[in-house]
């Protein structure tokens, strides 16, 4: 093995992201990882994913995170359960935990995970693929220290994930009709977490909007923060419900964020079209940069970026891409560096609390009409 250790991964939750993103990423990193155990609320799905990956299927998520044959755990359960499983993985002293975004339903709950990670010493990383994406990382290398932003636009107009999944994988879905109470409970979890922040008199559309910020805008918040630096404030935000106000498709969120040096515009929307328009442009007096992300669920395409600067009396334009890289693959490579080489986590739970505070600030500004 040349001295390299193969880490045994336990996967908690075998839904869309696991099957179409984490499993291919892990299998492409076979020198670093082996999928050792999987679990899912639906045993048939867990068994099928186990059969595909050569892993053991376990019936209970809490058993899996404590399994002595597992080194690192990835939490891909429904959002409301991320915290339970991540906390249990910390208590079980796993070598690292990768938790899907959002790590919790609001910042108060996120602080519980950050505190537990600190107390147990377990590195907890939040999976923000666009923080790890090649384009973001390359622009950060050129940009250097965060700050001095004069203007920027971060946008995510994303077609239905379901439309892309069929392109990338034969998804194993639970047999039988969906249990309606599961979806209803997920909505009530969101309403409970959102109204803790927005007040219970908040509009029902604000709960839907909170869900968009928590589920979609949260991809861009940590990317934006890595260029803007501190202080960063939400100056204005607005929910744009679609033709059917309680439907997430067509629902948009717009926000304006201020830094001491400039203004950033942040837009997210689930688009009715099968098209991904995801990326950002960012400027300071001596440098401009632009990033394009492919659809998350067709991971064969690379992200790409361009950077412009002054050189010898002219403008230098440089373009970068990297053929076989995705945010998910790079997140796993980073996690290997954290576990194996003591690298400092790029997206630790402690810092992700700040992301959730921005989720709350954006939703509160959009809900109240005030900054």
């Amino acid at each position: 093995m040349g001295g390299t250790e193969v880490l045994r991964v336990g996967i908690v939750g075998c839904g869309l992201a696991t099957q179409s993103l984490h499993v291919p990423a892990l299998q492409s990193l076979a020198a670093s990882y082996r999928i050792a155990a999987v679990t899912d609320a639906n045993e048939a799905v867990a068994a099928a994913v186990a059969a595909r990956t050569g892993a053991r299927a376990l019936a209970d998520a809490f058993r899996l995170v404590e399994d002595p044959e597992v080194d690192v755990v990835v939490i891909c359960t429904p959002d409301a359960f991320h915290l339970d499983h991540a906390l249990a993985a910390c208590e079980a002293r796993r070598r690292a935990v990768l938790v899907e975004k959002p790590m919790s339903l609001n910042a108060r709950m996120g602080r519980l995970l950050a505190e537990t990670a600190a107390r147990t010493g377990v590195p907890v990383l939040v999976n923000y693929p666009h923080v790890y994406d090649f384009a973001t990382q390359r622009i950060r290398e050129v940009w250097g220290v965060p700050g001095n932003v004069t203007s920027g636009e971060f946008h995510c107009f994303l077609g239905s994930n379901d439309d892309y999944i069929g392109d990338s994988i034969q998804l194993i879905r639970p047999p039988g009709p969906p249990e309606p109470w599961v979806g209803m409970t997920a909505q009530l979890d969101l309403a409970t977490a959102a109204t803790e922040v927005l007040g219970v008199a908040a509009d029902v559309t604000a709960v839907v909007g909170y869900g968009i910020v928590l589920g979609l805008t949260i991809h861009d918040i940590p990317v934006l923060r890595r260029f803007a630096g501190d202080p960063l404030t939400v100056a204005h935000a607005r929910f744009r419900p679609g033709p059917t106000p309680l439907d997430i498709v067509g629902f948009g969120v717009d926000a304006v964020l201020e830094t001491p040096s400039g203004t950033l515009i942040l837009q997210s929307e689930f688009s009715p079209l099968k098209r991904t328009d995801w990326g950002f442009r960012i400027r300071r007096p001596d440098l401009q940069a632009e990033a394009h992300f492919p659809t998350t669920f067709a991971p064969a395409a690379p992200s790409r970026c361009s950077v412009w600067g002054a050189e010898a009396g002219a403008t230098r334009e440089q373009r970068y891409t990297d053929f076989y890289e995705t945010g998910f693959r790079r997140a796993w490579r980073h996690l290997y560096d954290v576990v194996g080489h003591g690298a400092s986590p790029e997206t630790p739970a402690s810092d992700a609390v700040r992301d959730l505070e921005f989720v709350e600030a954006i939703a509160a500004a959009a809900s109240s009409g005030r900054a």
Binding site: D84, P180, T185, D189, T192, E196, A201, A202, D203
Partner: protein, 360 residues
């Protein structure tokens, strides 16, 4: 300013979300909640922002000095034990429907609360919904003339799979006991709570799980009012509605799916239908307005105000006992295949047993 009223929940299932939003909207504070397993208790308590307890640790929870009111919304079979524990700790109780599995258990809760001088709120939310309040006022004011008949329907696709609702040992009964507690209570409330003397007839359809999946019953109330109630776990989608038929017209109240489907329509015997304004209709796009539209908000406000001023709530322990007695009468009538007087109903038998032991 006095500190916010402190609330604790026994039970952390679906209905806990509704009560939690109502408690928040009222300005009270949920401080603790209990569930059967530690995992569920911790999961929901984190989301709700409360301290978790298991059912085995109830004593510690209900004796907390910061808890003033305990909501009992555990599986039906545990209501009596859990309510009695909270009452023994000197706390007011709000008890989910149905109040207990037997008449004797329900009466025992009332007696315990009386001895300890604490209040009971019987959580029949539907009668607190603004639409039902409006409907009752219209009926009282004579909008349909002399009432002849009230029809009620509460149905959905059944409680969550693999939960206690499907196990007669925990639930006591099925659609008639669970949804039927609404159908019976609200139908009677709409027409001024006449005494019910007999169950004229009842038909229960057995679900493969052993409980009743669908139930139809006809009650005869004072003044000869027919009360025709249907309750179902086998509907394609949720629907809850009531009709009051009088000699001058029909009032139809569509309660659910709330809030958008809510509608109140008065059709005079000779004349055209007229839609009646529903109070608080303008709020339904707010979370608190949605919770209010199903009665949960005004219910909590009413209970907490009554507890604070030692008044008897509009839905109290006596109402819970009355509904349980009628429901047991329905199970007995279904089992016997004939009418049953309510004074014939055994006080110590479970609904499911009254139905199945008599059935041939």
């Amino acid at each position: 300013m006095a500190a916010a009223v402190g609330v604790a929940f026994i039970g952390a299932g679906f209905i806990a979300y509704m009560h939690n939003l109502a408690v928040r909207a009222h300005g009270a504070r949920l401080v603790a909640m209990a569930s059967q397993t530690r995992r569920t208790a911790e999961h929901r308590a984190r989301i709700f922002g409360a301290e978790p307890y298991t059912f085995d640790e109830l004593e510690a929870m209900v004796t907390r000095p910061d808890v003033d009111v305990v909501f009992v919304m555990s599986p039906n079979a545990l209501h009596a034990t859990h309510a009695t524990a909270a009452i023994a700790a000197g706390k007011h109780v709000v008890i989910e429907k149905p109040m207990a599995l037997t008449v004797a258990d329900a009466e025992g809760i009332v007696a315990a609360a009386h001895r300890r001088t604490v209040g009971i709120g019987y959580a029949e939310n539907q009668v607190f919904s603004p639409i039902a309040v409006q409907a009752r006022e219209l009926v009282t004011a004579g909008a349909v003339g002399r009432v002849r008949r009230v029809v009620g329907f509460c149905g959905h696709g059944g409680p969550p799979a693999r939960t206690w609702f499907w196990d007669p040992k925990w639930a006591g009964g099925g659609a008639q006991f669970d949804l039927g507690s609404h159908t019976v209570a609200t139908a009677l409330d709409l027409v001024g709570l006449p005494d019910v003397e007999a169950v004229e007839r009842a038909r229960l359809v057995e679900h493969p799980s052993g409980i009743d999946g669908r139930a139809e019953a006809m009650l005869i109330a004072a003044g000869g009012i027919e009360v025709d109630v249907t309750s179902s776990f086998v509907e394609a989608s949720e629907a809850m509605w009531y009709e009051v038929h009088g000699d001058a017209g029909v009032l139809r109240m569509t309660l659910s799916p709330a809030p958008f489907a809510q509608q109140l329509t008065l059709t005079p015997t000779s004349g055209t239908p007229r839609d009646i304004d529903i109070p608080h209709r303008a709020e339904i796009m707010q979370v608190s307005g949605f919770v209010r539209s199903m009665g949960y908000l005004d219910q909590v406000s009413h209970f907490l105000e009554c507890f604070a001023t030692s008044r008897t709530p509009r839905q109290s322990g006596a109402d819970g006992v009355r509904v349980v007695r009628i429901l047991l009468g329905i199970y007995l009538a279904a089992g016997r295949g004939r009418s049953v007087r309510l004074d014939e109903v055994p006080t110590d038998r479970l609904p499911i047993d009254l139905w199945k032991s008599q059935r041939r």
